[in-house]
């Protein structure tokens, strides 16, 4: 990692502090510890097919290790019973990955929505550690088992955190001649399919009654399997074609895009497959979604309202929020938005350093965005009046003989050069309003005579065609510059 240049100056006494702090930050960055988003466990390859053993749903984000292929393909050396002599089992080539040899999984086998989300969300489904091998295809197609044969718990599960792994005493033991009733002393036949290493990974699996821990963290999700199965939403609707694959890896966990195949109902008023975020996502007591997880921050995908929080999100979030601010409100409380849009402390994500010096030029060039957060007559005007920039600043605040704008002949009174104020006002009237009040403009643009101006017409071409309805709805602006008896005004009445 290259070290950025540090600005130094002998003339400024505080620079050593800058350098020291910058270096310490860089050291900190280099020496950083745990990554916020661990790498998902990789599939492993080996051989054969077998039922899974008892395991735990456990440890969250810290667990990531992927079983090395070398280890996975090693011959087992331990017996099913911790007291039995090891019996060699043949090298395994199946059940270690979704497809033998860790081949690519066809898209049509993956869960619905995988086209736009090839991988399941790490935040929703934290990385797993699969320490067994299992061949679903063999069990379903070869042994004619159904999903329910092993995962009957799904039919009664109402919590996404329920462990739906089969109980080996009710499933595996029936065919593998094993006895898992005492997990501290699992016993089995001498048949290779009864050996610990037939299913459990690691060359010492089963030694001293221990096998590597299977880690499948609870998903950060609301999902009642029972409710879905009761409505005939079958396993494949969410998990894809598991009957075609061997090991059911994380690849077969649901994708949000797939959920939307059903969850498009109109809010709380219609059906149970509601489109509301908290139908599936975990929410805080405030109703906002929980977004911070051990595996990272939950962020919207690009395909959802075009709302991917890319590096330029702050530049373009307007178009999403303008359309559906309630969508933003699913995760963000009022505070999050109003810290900027109604804020009083300059946010550096919005305005960079030295903003006070450069903001006049920014306002000239980029004015539409000022008004999304700032009330020009008060936020801008108050400060401009305090420093004497505004024309109607108190006499005690406005320096004598100082002009903010170019000389009068250039800015106002002369024939219009490219620097004349009229062009500036036509291009960006908001910038004018941040300092000027009506009287400043009326001084020249009001009609002559009682109205006090010089009669310089500021209206755009074609203005007279549409002024009548405006006058009827609110005559006040007209009467600032025109007397009610003006012949011109009568044409608008």
């Amino acid at each position: 990692m290259s070290r950025p240049k540090v600005y130094t100056s002998r003339s400024t006494s505080g620079w050593w502090v800058v350098a020291a702090c910058s270096i310490s930050v860089l050291f900190g960055l280099r020496g950083s510890g745990a990554f916020a988003q661990p790498t998902p466990a990789a599939s492993v390859s080996a051989s054969a097919s077998a039922p899974p053993a008892a395991s735990a749903t456990a440890a969250p984000s810290a667990a990531t290790p992927s079983a090395p292929r070398a280890e996975a393909s090693a011959s087992p050396t331990t017996a099913p019973s911790s007291t039995a002599a090891p019996i060699a089992a043949p090298a395994h080539s199946h059940g270690m990955s979704a497809i033998a040899g860790d081949a690519a999984i066809p898209l049509e086998w993956l869960p619905p929505g995988s086209k736009v989300s090839p991988l399941p969300s790490d935040e929703i489904f934290p990385p797993q550690q699969l320490t067994i091998r299992f061949n679903h295809k063999k069990h379903v197609q070869g042994e004619k088992q159904t999903c329910k044969s092993c995962h009957s718990g799904a039919y009664t599960s109402t919590d996404a955190g329920d462990s739906l792994l089969p109980k080996p005493t009710e499933t595996c033991d029936n065919c593998h001649y094993t006895d898992h009733s005492n997990l501290k002393n699992v016993t089995g036949d001498t048949d290779p399919i009864s050996q610990c290493t037939f299913c459990h990974l690691g060359e010492n699996a089963g030694a001293q009654g221990k096998v590597a821990q299977l880690v499948i963290p609870k998903p950060n999700l609301r999902f009642p399997h029972k409710k879905h199965l009761d409505r005939n939403v079958q396993c494949g609707h969410c998990h894809g074609k598991i009957e075609e694959v061997e090991l059911a890896t994380r690849d077969f966990l649901p994708r949000m895009a797939g959920c939307y195949a059903c969850h498009q109902m109109s809010g709380a008023a219609q059906g149970d497959a509601k489109g509301d975020c908290d139908t599936c996502h975990i929410a805080e007591p405030s109703g906002k979604l929980t977004t911070s997880f051990g595996a990272g921050m939950l962020l919207p995908p690009a395909w959802l309202h075009n709302a991917a929080h890319t590096a330029d999100w702050i530049e373009r979030h307007k178009s999403v929020a303008a359309n559906d601010s309630a969508f933003c409100g699913s995760c963000h409380a009022n505070n999050f938005c109003t810290d900027c849009h109604d804020g009083r402390v300059r946010n550096r994500k919005v305005h960079p350093n030295d903003w006070l010096s450069m903001h006049p030029q920014a306002a000239r060039q980029d004015n539409p965005r000022c008004t999304s957060c700032h009330a020009e007559q008060t936020f801008c005007g108050d400060c401009h009046r305090r420093v004497g920039v505004a024309r109607d600043s108190a006499s005690g605040n406005r320096p004598e003989g100082r002009r903010f704008h170019p000389p009068a002949a250039t800015w106002t009174t002369g024939p219009r050069s490219s620097m004349h104020h009229s062009w500036e006002a036509e291009r960006n009237l908001n910038a004018c309003v941040s300092c000027h009040t009506e009287r400043d403009c009326a001084t020249c643009h009001a009609t002559k005579g009682v109205s006090g101006g010089q009669g310089v017409n500021p209206h755009p071409v074609g203005f007279a065609n549409g002024c009548a309805s405006a006058f009827q709805r609110n005559p006040r602006p007209c009467l600032v510059c025109h007397q009610s008896s003006d012949a011109i005004l009568r044409t608008c009445k």
Binding site: V17, V25, R316, S422, N428, H459, R473
Partner: protein, 581 residues
Amino acid sequence: MRANYRRDVHTASLRGTSVRLKNRFRCAGPCSRGAAIAAFAIAAVLLPNRARAADFEVQAETAAQAYQVTSPWGDITLDRRRILQTLGLSVYNLQGKYEPGKPTFNVTVKLRLDADFGINQARTGEPPGSETSFDTTGRRYSPGLQEAPLDIMYAYVEGRNLARGWFGFRLGRQYVSDVLGWWSFDGATARITTPFFVQAEVYGGLEQRNGLVLSTGRWERNGIWRGSHAGFGNEAGQATLTDYPSYQYAQPAPAFGAALESAGPSWIHGRVSYRRVYNTGTSITQQFPSPAPPGTDGGYPAVKGMRVSSDRLGYAADLNFAAGAPFRAPLGLKGGFAYDLYANTVSNAFGGAEVYIGQNAVIGVDADYYLPTFDADSIWNWFTHGATSTFTARTAVRVGRRFDFSLQGGARLWTTEGDPNTFGQGECDAVGGGGCTPGESYLDPTQPGLVAYTRAPENRPQATVIDGIGNVAARYRIGSGVIGLRGMAQVGDRGHRAGGDLSADQKFVGDKLALGARASLFDWADPTRPDRNATSFGYVLGVGYQPAKIANFRVEWEHDMNRLVGHRFRVVGLLNLWVMK
């Protein structure tokens, strides 16, 4: 609707009550209020747990800032010593246990005190340009400026998913944010969600306006300067209407609105919004006193009564065909507009398309159109000419989980009626004046020949100036740290601004300790004020500590330097308290 108004002539009677701010002992008012809020926040945070059904949330933010502001003339430096104190209190799930889709009732309140103790009264005797004072009399009085305004940002009771999900409401001070922009009002909102993929929203109340009780300027439409007239009066030294005829009284502003919005499908969403706000009360019109008719002493004409303040209709929609749509394509579309029914013009519009290239890249194009419109009381609606239009192309790319960046480039256009480069010479020719030079000579704007020239449509063809714009943003994550880059450039006839920020933030000690640094370099030039062109270098150093989940504080030091202000410093201290029980 025809405005119900009455034109009236007041004899300089609009002077307002002279409510003096109690700032003799300068810290007494604002400090005590701030201390009270802070004390209440701490007490609420530290309250012992009790059995409860509802969930309570207390949030308090304290921000102390000290920095300097230098006037455009460079020789006036004003101190800012600001303290911002907010206090948010929320009670969620008054109904008991929260269950998705079931009725919920919440109460949310947030108060804010924004105090500035930087006013330097000692400068009272100095020459003009020294500093405003918060006194309500004297030559440094600034209307509407308060030393420590206390306001209610929002405070409402909310119910959701009532009547089997059909009905929701919100009652109190609340925000609305949609294609019509940010807005705030005191009143009620009712929301009806139907089984027909559509929901409706109606609301009504009073717009929050500067000068009303416990209100500060928010999103009332621009164009009218209004607020408290404390300090106005007839006594010597007091401000009068003659001093500030444009400064209007804050009056209740009735408002209502409605919206129709799609609900349910993820791939399409649209919302059509309508909102109307009224001005009420008396408003000065003519900015100069009328000559005294016989038997009177003159005065300022005014209008009275209910009249439109803003009347706008908007629509926005987005569609995404990548997932969930009846037909699939890696494409997202979005667009919207707001139409000002009073000014009879589209005040803003936007649109864009983006294409997804694989999983990690997006390319897109965007367009934005903005035409300033104002409060219907304002004269500036009828000064508005051209829009600001922006067209950009962008790409955002993610390279692994650690690094992503985006690039954006395009053009921003401004229009004028007439060509600024030739119009002045045309004016000179029209008056036939020898020696007439654009930008130098004086012309009587009422000369018939000049008026005829300036108003002739053929002399006012649309002319456009274009700025090139570019933005870059990148993030690189290292563990719990982030290195960020944001850069921009905008270059054209109207000057330029270019530069960027490089920042690094890292957490240590189990994320309790945070260090941050930021360096920036910017250059800008304004052809209308070349004396203000400058190059600026600045840096920020920050350290934060979070001893417990309920509290974190941070201190930042900012040092900016450019030729206009020399060295300028800013110190910011932030303390956040947050408790959810």
